[in-house]
């Protein structure tokens, strides 16, 4: 009895010790991400999480999915309170995270697996802070059948002249078709795509960069002329009447389904919504999707110039107590195989080095083939204006060039004056 009692005591003690050791080894990394409603991206990331957990027994990832606005608001308070997750979603324009020392230096990752320009987008004072998962270019999508029906020919180089583009707008309008689906009901940037794609072509990347940073005046005649050209397009009826309140998801549907628009100016992440099943807002199965370049701009010095941007990325909390595990998790993304899986699943470009020729899905392969053609010979400017601007210039830019100017409720002169005064 006494011996049995001792044995039991020893067994229990060993059990407790084993449990305590296991508990000490088990680690849970917290992970907050945007893309709650963007299923392909979410499923891709969830697959990577499972892969990491399988390779690292004892370490689990507790993922929480948000929509972007709610995520950003939550992160601002959580970071300040020292309660932010180990890993979270961010975009490179959020320099305030780096300025305030909230992000972990990710120099320890294998950056040879990342496109140099993508690393550059996340490099701050010589150190890389974000894993650039999502990359995108500005694309002008169009309905090929509708375009044929109007008798409009997209040239071989996929870039219409200013006159041909205006002719297209007028022909569409005459047939009761909205020439371009755009809406700014819930986003601070879609309306401004018109302006920034035109300005980067007219000014070239260097002067365009100076303009956004307040080193070139918005009263520059080249800027004013370009805005007048855009105004002539909007006055010809380029945009839907619901432009001011049309939300991003609704603009997608407006383009491909109801009522149907001729073109749609959007980031190449178009696929993350449009390639969803039809009942989840995706485009019709046989939708005749075409992609062309933004039209040539009168007086442009660089019609091949266009915007490329790093979008959704993952960063690590500088105060994480699990640095080694965090770096290991982020490192799981860094392989050509995972990059190709992103292309296949999400059908958007990535900052991870990939080989698009290995994409097997026919829809994705066709899509990347079109993207490749429109981007042939392109000269890129990195980031859309709201990723470059901060503070008041950014707020004024959103109100003026995302909303009021394309809606036609402010003159070119007033728009220029307001933006110039914001610096």
């Amino acid at each position: 009895m006494r011996v049995g009692g001792r044995s039991a005591l020893v067994a229990i003690s060993l059990g407790v010790l084993a449990w305590a050791a296991a508990a000490a080894q088990a680690k849970e990394l917290t992970f907050w991400s945007h893309w709650a409603a963007e299923l392909p991206k979410r499923e891709f990331v969830e697959a990577v999480i499972k892969e990491f957990e399988a390779k690292n027994p004892g370490t689990t990832i507790k993922a929480t999915w948000y929509e972007k606005t709610a995520l950003y608001a939550g992160l601002k308070t959580a970071l300040r309170a020292g309660q932010a997750p180990d890993i979270f979603y961010a975009e490179p324009d959020q320099a305030e995270y780096m300025d305030n020392g909230f992000l972990l230096d990710l120099s320890g990752l294998d950056w040879s697996k990342v496109e140099p320009w993508a690393k550059e987008a996340w490099t701050h004072k010589g150190k890389p802070y974000g894993l650039p998962l999502e990359a995108w270019t500005m694309e002008l999508y169009y309905n090929t059948k509708m375009m044929e029906g109007l008798g409009v020919q997209v040239p071989d180089n996929r870039q219409m002249s200013p006159d041909a583009f205006m002719d297209m707008v007028k022909k569409a309008k005459a047939k009761g078709i909205t020439p371009m689906a755009l809406g700014v009901g819930d986003r601070p940037y879609p309306g401004a795509h018109l302006t920034h794609e035109a300005l980067v072509k007219r000014l070239g990347t260097d002067d365009y960069d100076k303009l956004l940073r307040g080193k070139l005046p918005w009263t520059d005649p080249r800027v004013v002329d370009t805005l007048k050209w855009i105004r002539s397009l909007t006055e010809a009826g380029l945009l839907p009447n619901t432009f001011s309140t049309l939300k991003l998801a609704e603009a997608h549907v407006y383009f491909h389904t109801n009522p149907g628009a001729l073109t749609f100016l959007n980031g190449s992440w178009y696929t993350s919504r449009a390639f969803n099943p039809v009942d989840k807002g995706g485009q019709p199965k046989d939708f005749p999707l075409g992609i062309m370049q933004f039209p040539a701009v009168p007086g442009a010095v660089c019609n091949e110039c266009r915007t490329i941007a790093i979008g959704g990325s993952y960063v690590a909390n500088a105060e994480t107590k699990n640095r080694k595990e965090v770096l290991a998790f982020l490192g799981t993304f860094l392989s050509q195989e995972v990059g190709n899986r992103w292309l296949e699943k999400v059908q958007v470009q990535t900052g991870i080095k990939t080989d698009a020729s290995k994409v097997k899905d026919t829809q994705a392969a066709a899509y990347f083939s079109m993207i490749e053609k429109t981007n042939a010979g392109a000269k890129y400017y990195f980031g859309i204006p709201i990723q470059v601007m901060t503070g008041k210039p950014k707020e004024v830019y959103i109100q003026v060039f995302n909303n009021a100017f394309p809606a036609g409720i402010i003159s070119v002169e007033d728009a220029v004056k307001q933006q110039a005064a914001a610096y």
Binding site: K76, N241, T242, T390, K394, E395, Q399
Partner: protein, 303 residues
Amino acid sequence: MGEAPAHRDDGLRKPWGTIVAFLLPAVTIYVALTAYPAVRTLWNSFHKVLPRRDEYVGLANYVELAGDEIFWKAVRNTIVWACTSPLVEVSVAMLLALALYAKVPGARFFRVAWFTPVLMSYVVVGILWLWIYNYDWGPVNAALRALGLGALAHPWLGDPATALPSLIFVTSWMWTGFNMVVLLAALHSLPREVIEAAELDNCGWGGKLVFVILPLTRATVLNLIVLSFIGKMKIFDLVWITTKGNPLWATETVSTYVYKRAFEWTTFDLGYPSTIATVWFVIVLTTVLAMTWAFRRREKLEF
């Protein structure tokens, strides 16, 4: 004789332990959730409040605020909203309450129907009215087109000239029912003998309304106006759901601007948003005290 004062002292001795025990929870909650945040906001307004470091900037935030055009646009919009909406809400509510008081046919149905909007959240109301104001298929423009007035069809929330009035209309639609119910209760509590005396004096409906009903419900009306005014000075939800302050800050309110500066501008600084909140608190408090003082000269207000 000599012991009497001692007895009096014993009787008057306050049970401090009990008092503290009862007050402590409420005082703790008040200090933690109201007093401290208010004092801290005031303190923040004199600082640049960044994570892990605060930097004293004196009156710099106040000086910047004085020249902040967006803030003054937001102030103007909020004041227009707070001054017009209560008047519309309360006057329409009085008409509806009088109709129900007079027992119009279907009064029971109308009482429920008119009160229903206040039961909905601003989120639901915002989405509902985004549809109603939709340019292409919203009922407002559809009705105009059906009546042959298609030229008047309008992007109601997309035009700076109509965006704010359109939102003011929504809040009036939403809150009129609440005011109506309160006024109806006030009407039902009017002293019957006064009404009967007026009727004995051959006072018609108009006379009863002007000389009896309105004077007797004056305190309720003024309370409702002040409450509505305070509510509109803080309006946030509806704007955030529908326009986010667009277009061209035509619907920007002070609350939405504070939120944008605190959480949407690419900065962690809470000093400047705290300055806006402090200045606005002073303006609202002063206005409410002035209204109270003005109204109290004739009526006692309770809110």
